[in-house]
Symmetry: D2
Subunit: 344 residues, 4 copies
């Protein structure tokens, strides 16, 4: 076996071949800069349709951390912070990008990566019930990820409940969809893209981890894109001169159902992976319905396996066991899972 | 003529075809993320050689504004600001990105886009001579662009003089090389890439405007890359998960002299353009030795021409005349200049 | 002469004795914290009356730099900057406090410390006329000082013209009144406090330089105090637990005309000072109608004088002459001016 | 009873009468501005002696939130955050001042307001053991309060253990001493001011809550005051023109043991208060050895008491009980405690 099997993450390859083909086909066209080209326009129109949200304002930004930091800092007032699960990506794994722009993350307890609408409501009630709340950071926005950092998904009921609390307190609900395709195409979800557009005030559809070289599509669903957002994006260093790179990629991903088809492929591969581990009697750390699977391995087995397979360390479970992550993507091959099965 | 002739800017096309070929050829390889892949390593090594600076630390960032803001804010102390020509890109056309990160731009007079070492020294002397200078923003860094916003170039003597003042006051000299290729391959320069690496403390080699889809290569020449720069880049939202996009592009551009050859082509095309305008008796607003040419047009002629040619408005000269910019790039075709000549 | 004559600045003494008396008289009263005590309320009410602006929202902040930075950053949107004379205090002598909070200062030419409404209007026209203005910092506010850093004053016509441009472009006009008392009580002004309240959107009445130990009263005149301003002030570290320190001082200063009487005294002393210098044939660098006087001294004379008198170095005029500043205050004694006259 | 008994907080009065007397006695002296006057110098020298730390660098800042935000942001690198108990004042009650300057607070579990050295060490080990820690905020400083927000105190052993972990990881240990006097003069502490100076890298001695009108004395104990700290303080709007206000107050407080004597008085009053509540069978929420006492009241009793006594709501304990805070200060009178006893 010349190369190890690859299950480390969902950004280990380049982009879906059709994306590359379209970049090549349009390469010498002269296009306007800074996101005003026709491919950006076309991509936005297709995304609006996919979201069933004709009035959506859409912007493309090259990465997830940048998107989170810009959206959050642009929507919050200076005295406000953003509520997030303590395990939220913005709270732990973005090098403090949100705080770097002056905004505090207000952590709520996590339940398999999710926050609970009842706890959110209690948090809000306690905050406004405190006589000294003007000395505290005002909760001004709610951040959730879907799928979460643990691969789990909100149900439509859970999302509706969160949305209701947000509306009661007039806070935007923001969904980090870095892996949104894998959530939408899970076999265990009742949440559609139009549902998300209805229930969230702003969200992003991840490209980097779902078939693009880079890029996330931010969708403002309620006429709430901040005024002069181009200037804000520029000020944050996130305005690409060749906006076509974003436009062409998303235009391709949202043509002929590509984004959803390749996401479904990753889900199918994850299901195969799950079956393979289950059949061999392995224990799952969490029951993930998406493309990230968290497996408990005996340390010795982990060492042995790592000679032939690349996967991610997640966390130490106890002296003898470790939680590891296996991720599939649009590029995962069925034959690699068969090879993996033979190694278990 | 189905499409207008294109001289608007140097980022109107995609990327050099060889870059795209290499992206395709490496697309399905499994690579490490966040800039630690082998193509990034290879590109860095080639750039170190081209700079004759084996100890350089190099980082790839996707755009110029982002690069400027990160480098400047990472190198300045909080009480320091960055000196720049009043016409410097950071001072006027980056939507306040540098100030957004807390740093003041300290403007010096411009001379065809350049600052003068004598005036810089006088500024420093006056600053430290002022008894109240602890109430002022300390000059902590010097920013220059090469080519400048007017297409002009520093001579080696001018650059050496600036470098000397910076060293006397222990300030880093930072060169914005968004169009560096066009400066290096000008027929009217005595400044080489190794000269720049010797005289500057940090600079960047522009990719976006010189053949890449996006990307700038930041070069720290004196062992002065800030500690934990990866975390700093991440915190600023500029760390691409698929760092390969940067690595593959710069590896290609620095293979077989490609970066320099395509830059030379743009310069050759600019010389042709200059000749065409000169032969027809047009006036130049500035004598630019690089790929941006600034022409004075009568307003009527400008209107007439704009039906067949795309170029940029620069500034109003007087009631009847306007300064416009014609830019060439690696993609400019000689036949388009011939067609332009016929229209003048 | 045991001690040198003191004309260095207007903050060399403590506070007006009546302020100290009132602090002592109220010292043991139990009062609410954070600016909600009865003396703050009373002071605000008296200031509203003095401004003839019953709907004004007023806040007390301990120093001028802090006030400028908080007001400017609270009123600007992130993509906006503040216009100021190049000589404005915020641009040169506040250690970059405004930029530290992310806001760019946009300098206009100064005319004896003042900006010109025509030039302001031209700046706005040019900005919005530029096709690329979304890549630039939007002018979002106008900062003026009155008296200026050169002791000069806007006329009512000049102020009205500035106010009109600001309203046309929907920008707040902010007046830094660190020395406002000395401006209002000048014999050469036609601008009253009610005029200022009408023409400006926000301004502050300086206490530190006009009889208080510390403190500036910020006045929002148009129902435009930012929501949750207490939290904003707290977030900027400027909320004193013992807000009474501010309330008692301003309540005293605005009782029985004290603020105006002591300002007039400083003006009277400045007139005496002017007369003394004029009679001896000294040259004035600028014709200042307020408490700061800028005199041109021969270097030898300056040296000789400085043995007996404390004054401020302002700037070198030429090889043989220096501009120095003599300041009066509420505490300046007529006899000290007589002693000075004897030394000239 | 004309006025209610006052136990709301320790900043309800002005300042100790001796402070006011000294302000009056020095009021008309001409002094240098910005903290360079002789009273600041004298106060610093006295504090150095009290700390037994002759090499300490000292600065006066007007309030606690401002001090915390400036010290933390000045000492952290941009990619670092500050560790604090989840109940730390900076984490919950400073309106996000630390994040406003770009720094993340990294919360550790609290134990009666304190953090545990073992948990701190484990946090550090886990952080550096994580392969992805370059994507996380680096722990760069430890913040503790002493007394804590619950009135509790670190023992010398606990403080030494924290200090050792900090030194192992080369992080400064920063102590918020807003109520330091009440900690030092507690009958249940083995920690002295020289101990604090030895074990901490930077701390502040609170004035606002211990006899001053405003002001905190920041002490850098290891030659670690940031370069150009004056400019940093100015940039943060915290440089008072009349620095004498700070100097005179701290000079008085550190003359003839005043700071310690008035702190001891508050402790004695707190002991009396405790005795009174204990004798009447009231329950204490926490066993506080300092000037803040946390009592559990039945809701009905709380209502009844509040007609005659001012105290602070702390938190709801259960349906029928509430935790309230009674605070003493340098100004608390024994007779008021006797009156309170009669009401219980």
């Amino acid at each position: 076996m010349s190369e190890k099997l690859f299950f480390v993450n969902d950004y280990g390859e380049g982009c879906h071949p059709k994306v590359l083909e379209k970049l090549a086909a349009t390469n010498l066209e002269h296009l306007a800069g800074y996101g005003s080209d026709k491919y950006c326009e076309s991509a936005k129109e297709k995304i609006r349709k996919a979201c069933d949200c004709p009035e959506a304002d859409i912007w493309f930004i090259s990465g997830g951390t940048q998107t989170n930091a810009i959206v959050i800092s642009a929507l919050l007032k200076s005295y406000e912070g953003v509520i997030s699960a303590v395990t939220g990506h913005i709270n732990g794994h973005e090098a403090g990008a949100v705080e770097h722009l002056g905004c505090k993350v207000l952590p709520l307890p996590q339940h398999e990566g999710k926050i609970d609408a009842g706890e959110l409501k209690e948090y809000m009630r306690t905050f406004y019930g405190d006589a000294n709340h003007e000395h505290m950071v005002f909760p001004g926005m709610v951040y959730i990820s879907h799928p979460t950092e643990y691969g789990t998904l909100y149900t439509k009921d859970e999302l509706t409940a969160l949305s209701n609390v947000c509306r009661e307190y007039e806070m935007p609900l923001f969904m980090d969809g870095a892996r949104m395709g894998y959530g939408l195409m899970s076999y265990q979800t009742d949440v559609t893209l139009p549902d998300i557009a209805k229930l969230c005030d702003v969200f992003y559809i991840g490209g980097t981890k779902v078939g693009a070289l880079c890029g996330e599509a931010v969708v403002f669903t309620k006429g709430n894109m901040p005024k002069h957002f181009l200037a804000i994006v520029k000020q944050n260093g996130a305005l690409l001169a060749k906006g076509r790179l974003m436009g062409v990629q998303f235009d391709t991903l949202f043509t002929d159902n590509l984004y959803f088809d390749i996401s479904r492929h990753a889900i199918d591969m994850a299901q195969e992976l799950k079956k393979v581990f289950a059949e061999k009697g392995y224990r799952f750390f969490i029951d993930s319905p998406t493309n990230q699977q968290f497996i408990v391995l005996e340390n010795e087995k982990m060492q042995a396996l790592s000679q032939f397979v690349d996967f991610s360390f997640w966390e130490k479970l106890d002296e003898n066991h470790t939680v590891v992550r296996f991720a599939t993507s649009w590029a995962t091959k069925k034959e690699d899972i068969d090879k993996l099965a033979a190694l278990l």
